[in-house]
Structures are given as structure tokens and as C-alpha cells.
């Protein structure tokens, strides 16, 4: 819904600050230690990862993280450009060259603090951002040598270094403003707003419907990609900044925005996410064994069904699991099914490999782990057994036609290409829509045609004064980092609003 708005022109005062950092003596000296042409010859450090045949049987993290030496070697590849494009590719405009050069210089903690100036959740972004379409896509090193600096891996390294060092520091906080803001949803957008507002001296309460903080980071993204301990550490950091999280509180039901206003909250941020799974509306979709990705992943991640019966929540196991879709959520689901013992775990995607929206690394990891890909294919119906459980699906082959509104070539069914495969688990990962609870219970909140909350994209302000929104509730299913980008804009505007 907003792709064109996501590549940003940097503000002049921000450019000036970057310039000041760039001109610092230590940066100048560091640049002199190795000529640009030699830096360009350095090859990218490969992220160490667990062997595919071992990791596809458990839920421990796949990537092991760069070592100290590897991180410094990778940081040396950064050319420290006078006009760093990487920053323009980052939805939250992290000062990337500064933190990378701090790593090269061995100042790892300072690198983490530099990240935290603009990003309260760097250990998460370092793991889940689609860097290859953002900062790394526009990296000068990519143009020069064909291979971008591994900015994401370095971000993860710095954040992990700080956490493991146990520094636990927080930046100096301004005196309390005496103003109170309510943040709805403890997902990536909400947590970012909360962190920013706390750092600006406001009192912030985050209201979360589930019993743990994180939103999609806790219920959606699996342990093998984002360990819960990492998320917990990032949330603990926000708590040290003074942020309070109230779990088990469904704004719209437990209290409405108007109720909270009467309790003294002056500003609101709606970050309630894309909590409404889409289905294809094809026959058999309500058979037992057909899940939405939200349900499948929530059972396994938030409710720990992988440890059933030590945890009480079950999840159905499969011989053959089919996951419909080609995004990150589909990859997370199919790799989860494999880990839960599926002999065959298959991605069924209606376009080709090129159009898959998942991160390159996730597709690559999935292939290594033995995931099958049935591309240019779509399910058209599911068949059940006598107990109402899914036993097979009928598929149809597709070919690519003219580009559609998204710019991707539209899949067109090939008549007569139908075939049936036996499956005993289906996960539908074809996207989510914005959750309707807040819109339904907030009179005067202007909605768009996809059920999304409408905002002014320059300020993230909704149609109600003092109420802002960001993330999937306005976008309808995007990425963690875009949600955080919205959140940073919203936090700055909420600060202005509270001090009006």
C-alpha cells in the first residue's frame, strides 16, 4: 500500500549530522588504513550456520552469528562512502557507516549504542529484516564488487555483543514530561513507539492482547529464526527505559480508546497489526488439518506446541505438509512443519521463484533443509476423509501473464493441468488483513478499503486528533522494519502533539 513512500529522502539536518560523523578524525584515520580498491577485493564473510540435516529436526537458531574477527573483517569491506546510500534504504535510517566503522575499530559496545540511537530492537532487525531489498540493495559495495556489505549480520553482531556483555545500559533520559501515551499492541511498531516516547520523557503504557510481548515476533516468527530470549532481552531494555507493558488487555474490548482517554491518556498509537488471516475461499478449507499460518505458528511459537504434552497446546503432525504462499510466513510455516516431523514439507506458490516475497536467506535455508517447492501452482480444493480431516488437495498449474497492480506478473491458470496430491496438513500463508477490533470500536476512525486504518503518511496521524497508527494495521501485512519505520515517524509526531 505504500511502497513508494518507504524509500526516504534524508532531512538536511540529518545529513549534516552524518557529515560530522564522517569527518571525525578516527573515521578519517580508519579510511586511510586500507585503500578503497583493496577493500573492494575483500570477500563477504559467510554467516556460520548449523548443518541443515541437524537443524531441521529442532527449533534452535539456524544462524550462529559472526565471530569477533569475522565481524571486523566484514566491517572492513565497507567503503565508508561520502554519500552513503545504505541509510536511504533503511526504513528507520540507521547511521549504518558509523556503526559499521565502530565495529571495524573494535568498539563493539559503541556500535550497539549507535544502532540504538535510531533502532530500539537491533538484535531483532539484524535477524529478520529483508536487508537484500533495503540497505544492502543500494550498498555501494554491491555496485562496485557485486556483493553488498553484510549490514544485517553486522547489526546482529553488535546487538548480540552488547547483550552478551551484560552491559544493560540505557541512554540518559530527559526529565519526565508529565504526559501519558497509550500504545496499542506490543509488536514491532508498538515497541518502537514506546521506546522512542520513553526516551523523550513521556510515560508510556503498552496494551497487549496476548499474554506475552512481541506481537508477530512472539507468535509468528519461530524460535529457529528469532529466539525468544533475544526478544525478551529487547523488551527488557524497553522496560529499563520506563516502558510499562500491560498484557492480557484487548483495547476495543477490555477498554476502548475513549475509555483510556478518560483515564488521562492524551495520545495513542495503534499498532494492532494484521491479525486477521486471509483464506482462499475454496472448497474444503474448513476441514480439520487446514490451518491459517497465524494459528499454526501461534500454536507452535507462542503456545510452545512443539513441546506438547509438556505444554498443553497441541498441533497436528503431518506426513505431508503443504504450505500455500511464498512469503516469509510461508517459509516459517513450512520449516516448522519439517521440524515437527513431516516427511514431505512442500511450498505451493502460484508465481515463480523470482516473484517470491520471502527473504532470499529464508528460501535458501528452506531448500537446504529439504523443503520441496511446487511453483506456478495453486490449490483449488481440498478433500477430506470420513472424519473430516484433510487427506488430499487438488492443484492447478499456472503460467505468468501480464504484470498486475503490484508490478509482478499475474499468474494465469492453465486449463486441464489439474492434479491431486495427498496431504494431511495444509497451512494457508497467503497474507493477513488488519485486525478489525479497534476500527469497530473506535467511532470516527477513518478506514481504507482494505480494512486498514487511514493515516497521513507524513505524520502517521489518523482521522482522530491525538491518535496515530503504523505497521500492519495501516499496511495490511508488510515487514517488521517497515512497521518500525512508521513507528519512528509516529513517535516524533506524538512527541510534538504531547508538547503542543
Amino acid at each position: 500500500m505504500a511502497e513508494d513512500k518507504d524509500k526516504k529522502e534524508l532531512a538536511p539536518e540529518f545529513k549534516a549530522r552524518l557529515r560530522t560523523e564522517f569527518e571525525k578524525d578516527w573515521r578519517k584515520d580508519l579510511r586511510k588504513t586500507l585503500p578503497v580498491k583493496d577493500r573492494m577485493k575483500l570477500s563477504r564473510q559467510k554467516m556460520p550456520e548449523r548443518e541443515a540435516g541437524e537443524r531441521n529436526r529442532d527449533f534452535n537458531e539456524v544462524n550462529l552469528g559472526l565471530t569477533l574477527e569475522m565481524a571486523q573483517a566484514e566491517a572492513r569491506r565497507c567503503l565508508d562512502c561520502a554519500n552513503p546510500l545504505c541509510i536511504t534504504g533503511c526504513p528507520v535510517a540507521i547511521d549504518i557507516p558509523s556503526f559499521v566503522k565502530l565495529i571495524e575499530n573494535g568498539h563493539f559496545l559503541e556500535a550497539a549504542w549507535k544502532l540504538k540511537e535510531t533502532n530500539s530492537l537491533p538484535a531483532i532487525c539484524g535477524r529478520v529484516c529483508p536487508q537484500e531489498t533495503q540497505c544492502e540493495e543500494v550498498c555501494t559495495m554491491k555496485k562496485a564488487s557485486g556483493v553488498a556489505v553484510a549490514i544485517g549480520n553486522l547489526e546482529r553482531f553488535a546487538a548480540d555483543f552488547e547483550r552478551l556483555s551484560g552491559s544493560g545500559g540505557i541512554p540518559p533520559l530527559p526529565p519526565p514530561s508529565g504526559k501519558k501515551a497509550a500504545v496499542i499492541g506490543a509488536g514491532p511498531a508498538g515497541l518502537t513507539v514506546a521506546g522512542d516516547l520513553a526516551k523523550l520523557g513521556h510515560s508510556v503504557i503498552v496494551f497487549e492482547a496476548l499474554h506475552e510481548s512481541g506481537g508477530v515476533l512472539i507468535y509468528g516468527i519461530p524460535e529457529f529464526r528469532l529466539p525468544k530470549a533475544i526478544l525478551k532481552a529487547e523488551v527488557d531494555y524497553l522496560k529499563r527505559l520506563g516502558v510499562e507493558v500491560r498484557t492480557n488487555f484487548v483495547v476495543g474490548m477490555t477498554a476502548t480508546i475513549d475509555d483510556l482517554r478518560n483515564e488521562g491518556y492524551e495520545a495513542f498509537f495503534i499498532g494492532s497489526g494484521a491479525g486477521l488471516p486471509n483464506f482462499m475461499k475454496i472448497p474444503g478449507e474448513n476441514l480439520v488439518g487446514v490451518y491459517s499460518a497465524n494459528e499454526y505458528l501461534t500454536r507452535v511459537n507462542l503456545m510452545r506446541a512443539y513441546a506438547f504434552p509438556a505444554y498443553d497446546t497441541p498441533v497436528l503432525k503431518a506426513k505431508t505438509a503443504a504450505v500455500i504462499g511464498g512469503g516469509n510466513v510461508a517459509m516459517d510455516s513450512v520449516r516448522t512443519a519439517k521440524r515437527l516431523g513431516a516427511e514431505r514439507a512442500v511450498i505451493v506458490y502460484r508465481r515463480s521463484r523470482t516473484e517470491m516475497p520471502a527473504r532470499t536467506e529464508e528460501i535458501h535455508h528452506a531448500e537446504e533443509e529439504g523443503i520441496e517447492f511446487q511453483l506456478l501452482t495453486t490449490p483449488i480444493r481440498y478433500f477430506g476423509d470420513e472424519y473430516g480431516r484433510v487427506r488430499a488437495m487438488e492443484c492447478q498449474k499456472m503460467e505468468l501473464g501480464e504484470p498486475d497492480a503490484s508490478g509482478r506478473r499475474r499468474p494465469v491458470p492453465i486449463e486441464g493441468s489439474e492434479y491431486t496430491i495427498d496431504v494431511d496438513l495444509v497451512v494457508c500463508a497467503i497474507g493477513q488483513s488488519p485486525n478489525p477490533l479497534i476500527p469497530q470500536t473506535t467511532p470516527g476512525l477513518k478506514m481504507g478499503k482494505w480494512g486498514n486504518v487511514e493515516v497521513d503518511w507524513t505524520t502517521m496521524a489518523t482521522s482522530i486528533p491525538g491518535v496515530y497508527a503504523g505497521g500492519d494495521i495501516i499496511r495490511g501485512g508488510a515487514t517488521v522494519i517497515l512497521a518500525m519505520g512508521d513507528a519512528r515517524i509516529a513517535a516524533a509526531e506524538i512527541d510534538k502533539y504531547l508538547r503542543r
Partner: protein, 278 residues
């Protein structure tokens, strides 16, 4: 700061009442809504219909049937214990209006779940008749509460101790034929009771509302576990319901989906009993 249990008691064999201190929920809840509860950190999230609330005690009460691991865990809690999740109120409130004559059919936990509706319907000026069903007369509860607001309360139990011994729909049909005309029927209880009530009222064309009870996880529309079919369309019971027009519900699908985890439920229960029972 976890929600604290104020009361946990056996009402009748296998049916328990739990009263939890939850000030915000108590302020907001309306007849027909539910909460999601989780008995401990490793527990499952399950929906429980709200059976009562008390603004002064800032508490919300639910009645549940002890059937699996989660409800056994709940039944073992005592006043003063805490639960990690007690969230709500969830779902759309039941429609309360001046309908005329309303017949309530309830059994099992549904006798508790339908109580706030009975009270509200009376206040709204309806003639309210209740048919309360149980396997045996000693499994009935809250008869006095119903007598205090209903114009007529009938009982059915298989042991023939109080009125009819037939299971619903028979006693319901008797009311529809002898106490008519009836403007609306509301049935809450096990899936079979609601299904049978729907069968009884369909030929008579009486609008019938049921409170569906599919498996849920988050209860806020996020996961879609609770999807059911009404009037040919997929609905999420947690946000589109839980009340639906009984004559539009795909009952076979509801029965089937409720049994999704039948084997796992038994495995879970065995694991719990091995650990907890001597």
C-alpha cells in the same frame, strides 16, 4: 500482577465455578460474552462463557465442565491462586430486546452461561421461560436464580426426578407447543443440545440463537481456529459471534472441528494424570 482467583468451587459433580478478580472485564462485560483463560504458564488458552459479574467485588464468574487437562487444572486451583491469562470480555454481546416470549434452553455449563441473558431479557420486559436440562437431577444448579427472573422454569433429567426425563429437544418442543406463541429461542450448552434445539424450532420457523463453542486460541480474530460456517460463509466465532442464528449453522462442521485434537487431548490428560495423581 496476575489475575487472582476469588472462588473456585464445585457446583455439582464435574461442573465448577470460578470467580476471578478482573476489574476491567467486570466493568465491560455484557450477556453472551466470554473470556479466554489459561490455567498456568504451560497451559492452553481456552474460552469460557461469562456466567456472572460483580462490580463491587470487581470480579467475573464462569462455569465450566471438567473434561480435559485445562479444566482439570482450573478445578485444582484455590482462592488466592493466580492465573496468567484471564482476558476479555471477548465476542459480541447477545442481542437483548423486547422480543415478547423467549424460551431459554440450557444444559451443562450453559445454565451458567445463559444466566446473564435470562436476567437481561427479563429486565427488557420479556416473558421468559427456561428449560434446564441435566443428566440427573443432582447435576442441575442455579434453579433459584432462574426462578427469580423467569416466568416459568422447567427441568428435564434422565432420572425422571423433576418433570420430563427426555433430553432436549422433547421438553423444548413441549414448551413450544403448550406455552406459545414463542418469539425467540436461545440455546446454550453442549453442541448436541444446541443442534437439537435448532432442529426443534426450524419447522416452526422460530428464530433461534445459539452460542457456538469451537476451539479457540487467541480469541481476538487473529488465528482463525474458531472458524465455522453460517449461511454458507466462513465466520470467526470469536469476533463474528459467538452468537449465531442456529438455522444457518453448519453443524456437521462444528462437531468435526471440535474433535480436531481428540487424540492429543487424551494424551495430554494421561500425561497430566501420570504427573499429578498418586
Amino acid at each position: 500482577m496476575m489475575p487472582k482467583i476469588l472462588t473456585q468451587a464445585r457446583l455439582v459433580p464435574n461442573l465448577h465455578l470460578i470467580e476471578v478478580r478482573a476489574p476491567e472485564v467486570a466493568r465491560k462485560c455484557r450477556p453472551g460474552q466470554f473470556v479466554i483463560i489459561m490455567p498456568d504458564e504451560r497451559g492452553e488458552r481456552i474460552p469460557l462463557s461469562i456466567a456472572d459479574w460483580d462490580a463491587k467485588r470487581e470480579s467475573v464468574t464462569a462455569v465450566f465442565l471438567v473434561v480435559g487437562t485445562t479444566t482439570r487444572k482450573l478445578a485444582s486451583l484455590r482462592a488466592g491462586d493466580e492465573v496468567p491469562v484471564f482476558v476479555g470480555p471477548l465476542g459480541r454481546p447477545s442481542e437483548i430486546g423486547a422480543f415478547g416470549t423467549v424460551v431459554l434452553a440450557a444444559g451443562c455449563f450453559g445454565i451458567g452461561a445463559l444466566w446473564p441473558t435470562a436476567r437481561a431479557l427479563k429486565t427488557a420486559g420479556n416473558r421468559v421461560i427456561a428449560v434446564l436440562d441435566a443428566k440427573a437431577h443432582y447435576l442441575l444448579y442455579w434453579q433459584d436464580r432462574y426462578r427469580s427472573v423467569c416466568d416459568k422454569v422447567l427441568f428435564s433429567s434422565r432420572d425422571h426426578a423433576l418433570g420430563s426425563k427426555d433430553f432436549i429437544p422433547k421438553p423444548l418442543e413441549d414448551v413450544l407447543h403448550h406455552d406459545g406463541p414463542v418469539d425467540r429461542v436461545i440455546a446454550v450448552g453442549c453442541t448436541y443440545l444446541m443442534y437439537a434445539s435448532a432442529q426443534a424450532t426450524k419447522p416452526l420457523g422460530i428464530k433461534t440463537i445459539v452460542s457456538l463453542n469451537p476451539i479457540m486460541v487467541d480469541g481476538t480474530g487473529m488465528c482463525g481456529a474458531c472458524r465455522c460456517t453460517a449461511a454458507g460463509k466462513t465466520k470467526f466465532a470469536c469476533v463474528d459471534g459467538p452468537d449465531f442464528d442456529a438455522h444457518q449453522v453448519d453443524w456437521d462442521q462444528l462437531f468435526t472441528r471440535r474433535k480436531s485434537y481428540f487424540d492429543d487431548e487424551i494424551r495430554s490428560l494421561c500425561a497430566w494424570e501420570e504427573k499429578e495423581l498418586p
